[in-house]
Symmetry: C2
Subunit: 123 residues, 2 copies
DNA sequence: ATAGTAAATAGTAATCATTCCTATTATTAT
DNA sequence: ATAATAATAGGAATGATTACTATTTACTAT
């Protein structure tokens, strides 16, 4: 895989963003630096970066987001502001339970907790 | 909301299917009974049934599925055959942890365990 | 440094799932 | 049975993503 300014910029933008951005948001950011970059280039490179294991794709309902954090982790989804917050849980117990009860070989666990975040606390 | 043959048929098909069917699969099934039903009718009714709380929408990666089981539950996703299997876990512990550590008010928890199901057991 | 090559891009067209639109049909209250 | 109007069929529109292709760019060997 050959170097390209576009891919490097996309990589940097995703890497310094904690908000699990969408392809379109990333596209808008890249355009500030490379005004004639095309949306197809953003999609193609996001897919390649995922294939290389540099980033993860996250399906937030029907919205596709990207995550620089490729370590297994979970998310809190706020229904008020839409934010997706990282959180880390241990899932070994669940993996062993499904192995015993369903003979299911678990590779990974994804957990999403839906609710309202601290920004909207009642006074 | 007025009765319609189409909605009733869609409701019955979803209710007797455990495989978390897609809109298109449901459409094909309904066409066996009402050959000139339209795909828009299927989508419109699935949305209405969800709004009435009769069914749930499930986002399986980028695939949208429907579930007659509206009680909170989790899923095992088999990467070999694509099956989505129901499983029920208690999540109270997680809800209290995020409340304490993040002041996050949890309403519901969705958990997906990815791996291979018993159908593909090594001999 | 120069030239050859193949990868990557920009711009645009195509695809796919879903939603929207509207003339017609079906259901329900009277 | 009739009137009112909710629901449908069929097709157009939308939005996100992918595919196509002529041109540009990065790397390699001279
Ligand atoms: Mn994350
Ligand atoms: Mn289910
Ligand atoms: Zn929030
Ligand atoms: Zn399987």
């Amino acid at each position: 895989m050959r170097y390209s300014q576009q891919r490097q910029l996309i990589r940097e933008i995703v890497t310094r963003t904690n908000s699990h951005p969408t392809a379109d948001w990333i596209f808008k950011q890249t355009k500030k630096i490379i005004p004639n970059i095309s949306l197809g280039t953003v999609y193609r490179n996001l897919k390649q970066l995922e294939e290389k294991g540099e980033i993860d794709t996250i399906y937030d309902g029907n919205i596709v987001r990207y995550d620089w954090n490729v370590e297994s982790h979970d998310h809190l989804k706020c229904t008020e502001c839409g934010d997706l917050i990282d959180i880390h849980f241990k899932h070994d117990k669940f993996k062993s339970i499904v192995k015993r009860k369903f003979k299911f070989d678990a590779n990974s666990v994804e957990m999403k907790i839906i609710g309202t975040c601290s920004k909207h606390a009642k006074k």
